[in-house]
Amino acid sequence: MDIKKATIKDIQEGLINKSFSAKELVQEYFHGINSRNKTINAYIYLDQESAEMQAELVDAKLKKSEKILPLEGVPAALKDNFNLIGTPTTASSNMLRDYISPYNATVTERLIKSGALLLGKTNMDAFAHGSSTETSDFGVTLNPYNQEHVAGGSSGGSSAAVAADMCCYAIGSETAGSVRGPAAWCNLYGFAPTYGRISRYGVVAMGSSLDRPGVLANSVYDCALVTDSVSGKDEKDATSIPEAETTYAHNLKAELNNNIKLGIPKQFLDDRIDSQVREQVMQQIKELEKKGAKLIEIDLLDPKYSIAVYTIVSRSEISSNLARLDGIRYGHSSEQVLESIIEQIALNRYEGLGNEARQRSMTGAYVLSAGYYDAYYKKAQQVRTLIIEDFNKAFAKVDLIIGPTMPSVAPKLGVTSGNPVFGELADMLTEPSALAGLPCISVPAGFNNEGLPIGMQIFGPQYSEQLVLNTAYFYEKHLAK
């Protein structure tokens, strides 16, 4: 059995055709995990026993030739910020190292209903604060393409698990570019639909107005299929889009819409972007032009504004979202017992939260405090509105926007240390669309001369998931290398 870069379709066909059993499949994946995870460090929690038990149930169904569910029998991984009942949900933090979740995230619930076979939970930057998994309290995740380099972040464990064939697809989440970025650096498809399309209920919150779950996979079809399984109105999330679940996979067509206009923001191709990334992505875009796409250069607000707005908004929300981690009801509680309860909370937090979380909390508390709110938070919200309007103007001229996902390839390990805004710079091309909550996909666009993957992103107006996916699907079928 060859599971290398296997898709959901490949696996389910294999199961139905009885080329292999679900149990053999799980064992095959665990064979890879056991040999590679120690070095790559993609998973921080694994449960082979229950995966095999679940596989046996699938095999029993297949034996009776019963119809299987859309994701049934397909080994998958879950980022560790998604609650899965009865298992640790640590968000890769010391604060929650011993926390066992008593409930399921909506995404988890829906994955299970679709038959997903979860192998384990993947490493991430602690609380998703970062773009390299280097802020994880469980160690960094290495890039399967070159182990001297990071896998990306914050969904780095998810991207490395898929790229190293330790699962078929993985659930990630992004606040700026935490799905697209690691997908780009690990040569995968990484899809994040419109903000609110997939429920945030049960996802350890980072920046509530930005967070969105997403999918990392080996194909566009898999991205669409998994999204369809977990999307749709959730009465537990007041910000979820009030529509029934989507049918992107069913409607997926490998076609370029007639005279589709692709906007290329000149700000995405200036000298802040690595030249090899630029050239490689432009070459792919030119290929799309040859297939009939119309290319239009567009002028967007400089990403530096998005970096500033993103930093202020996300830090504000982080400072408040992390406040529940006081070590009183759950989470890290100091061995030292203090007289003052407020000081006790401060000590629990000091010990349980890493540098990055502490810095972000303090920055957030600062920009929200009286006297600074107007200058920072309020202004940031106003500029956020301008960024959304800027995209609206752009989408009056073009159907989709296309460009590099990341300004560079995966950097070497140790890149975060000494650079408190590494994440913000790394995510400079994903933050604008994240602030506007736009549906985005990163697709593989080749490699640089060191063999490191390069990603290209395609995104459209809110709710344009089908167009984004169809265009990416066309690219995958006709141009992807």
Binding site: T89, A105, Y201, G207, S320, L322, R324, I328, R329, Y373
Partner: protein, 481 residues
């Protein structure tokens, strides 16, 4: 009380809203007296990843209070996060409302000694209650059953000029929310709590004092009264000695009204408010607000005034009738279609005195009485038409409450109707005269003697004689002796 100073008082009232479920989750709201932490879920425990979804009924009830107290409604309103750390605040922030409360700039009218007064309401907003800390010598226990109970906060302007106004306002507000079905406002269950903002100034001064003392968590109107009196003396003493009372928050140790310094605050607290990103802003249409308006019943103040003006009831009588909506509605049903204000007065009198006596004695609720308001008014009407004496009416009422029979049926069955035949009555009086010859002789010197004879007549007729008619006949016959 020191005559040199006068009050400047503003009130903040916290009111638990009567709903099936909590404010932001679907946990049952019937927390009072339940086993600790038996009404909790990931949302109201502040577990990682849980999200709030607002309770539409609580919003509706709060809007109805805003409309009933003449507030301007913010048709675009939102929730905000109020950030602070405390062990009974599970999320590290309270979801409240900051700059766009549901209602602003209203007023409530009430009476002090039949004098109509009005206090302005600055704002009314909706928020969630916190959990409860229980301190023992050894430890502090936390119960989160109360966490997330919907809470309305009503803030008045500092308009109160005397203690009677504060108390009358508090009572009228309590009646109003009960009339509207917003809350049971049961003080013993902590459903209505007061926060007093109080300072003193020289009589006649128009300026606001330079300090403000806040007393938190006052659980009843009687304690509120004691606190105001205590604080008046305390602050007046300090001012009289030429000093300024400290700007601070004071607390209560017991129900005596004595306060103690809890926390000195010179600046306003910095709660780092910002818009709650987990809940989209609320938009209220005119139709929706009209719909709520149409459900608002006649309020206690209006009803009281109608009783006084239309039915010519004494203001005190009217006030007693509107103590609760149940009683007031019961009264309304009893007097339905009755135009004679003298009869209405009699019904009110009997309701307050005799029906109340039955209720108190037998520990019943109005709704548990065996007789209906209509039957009750029939009885009072018989009395009013002199078909029954007061003594007989009481007997019939007692019988009505044990059998539920019509008053007329009871009167007929027991032959209780008043002696209509004058010659019959004269016969009885003459017999009484004969049996009490010595008393008859005393009547010229002792005016009480005639009263004694009347008593004997009533006794001899088992209350069937009309007392007024009998008195007239006794006087008549005595003059002929």
């Amino acid at each position: 009380m020191n005559k040199e100073f006068e009050f400047v008082i503003g009130l903040e009232v916290h009111l638990q809203v009567k709903t099936e479920s909590k404010m932001f989750c679907r946990c049952a709201a019937d927390y009072f007296g339940q086993k600790p932490n038996s009404r909790v879920c990931p949302v109201c425990l502040g577990l990682p990843g849980a999200l709030p979804v607002p309770n539409a009924l609580a919003v509706k009830k709060c809007l109805s209070l805003c409309l009933a107290t003449n507030c301007q409604i913010n048709k675009i309103s939102k929730f905000d996060r109020k950030n602070y750390f405390y062990p009974d605040l599970p999320k590290g922030y309270q979801i409240s409302q900051y700059d766009l409360p549901l209602g602003e700039n209203g007023f409530l009218e009430f009476d002090v000694d039949s004098d109509s007064r009005r206090v302005r309401i600055r704002r009314i907003h909706l928020e969630e209650d916190t959990g409860k800390s229980m301190h023992t010598n050894e430890e502090t226990l936390l119960d989160f059953n109360k966490s997330g109970i919907p809470l309305i906060e009503i803030v008045t302007e500092p308009d109160f000029v005397d203690i009677e106004e504060v108390l009358a306002f508090a009572k009228r507000l309590r009646q109003t929310v009960r009339f509207l079905g917003i809350s049971n406002a049961d003080m013993e269950k902590g459903q209505m709590r007061y926060e007093l903002n109080m300072s003193l100034r020289k009589v006649g001064s128009q300026k606001l004092p330079q300090y403000k003392v806040e007393v938190k968590n006052i659980g009843s109107i009687s304690v509120l009264e004691k606190v105001i009196k205590y604080e008046f003396e305390r602050q007046a003493d300090i001012l009289a000695s030429g000093k300024l009372p400290t700007q601070e928050t004071r607390g209560l140790r017991d129900l005596s009204g004595k306060t103690y310094s809890q926390r000195i605050k010179e600046d306003a607290d910095d709660y780092r408010y910002f818009p709650e990103p987990d809940i989209p802003p609320m938009h209220f249409s005119d139709e929706y607000l009209e719909e709520i308006k149409s459900t608002i019943c006649e309020l206690p103040q209006a009803r009281k005034h109608r009783y006084v003006f239309d039915y010519k009831l004494e203001p005190d009588t009217a006030e007693v009738l509107i103590t609760s909506k149940v009683r007031s509605d019961w009264f309304e049903e009893a007097i339905e279609k009755i135009k004679d204000t003298a009869l209405i007065k009699e019904i009110a009198k009997w309701l307050i005195k005799d029906v109340n006596a039955i209720i108190k004695e037998q520990k019943l609720k109005l709704s548990e009485l065996k007789f209906t308001p209509k039957q009750f008014s029939q009885l009072v009407e018989m009395l009013y038409q002199k078909k029954l004496s007061g003594t007989l009416a009481k007997q019939v009422l007692a019988e009505m409450n044990s059998t539920g029979d019509e008053p007329e049926a009871i009167v007929n069955r027991k032959g209780l109707s008043i002696m209509a035949d004058e010659t019959e009555l004269i016969k009885v009086i003459k017999t009484v005269f004969k049996d009490n010859a010595n008393v008859v002789g005393d009547t010229k010197k002792n005016p009480n003697a005639a009263k004694f004879l009347l008593g004997q007549v009533m006794k001899a007729t088992k209350g069937k004689a009309d007392p007024a008619e009998s008195a007239r006949l006794i006087a008549d016959l005595l003059s002929k002796e």
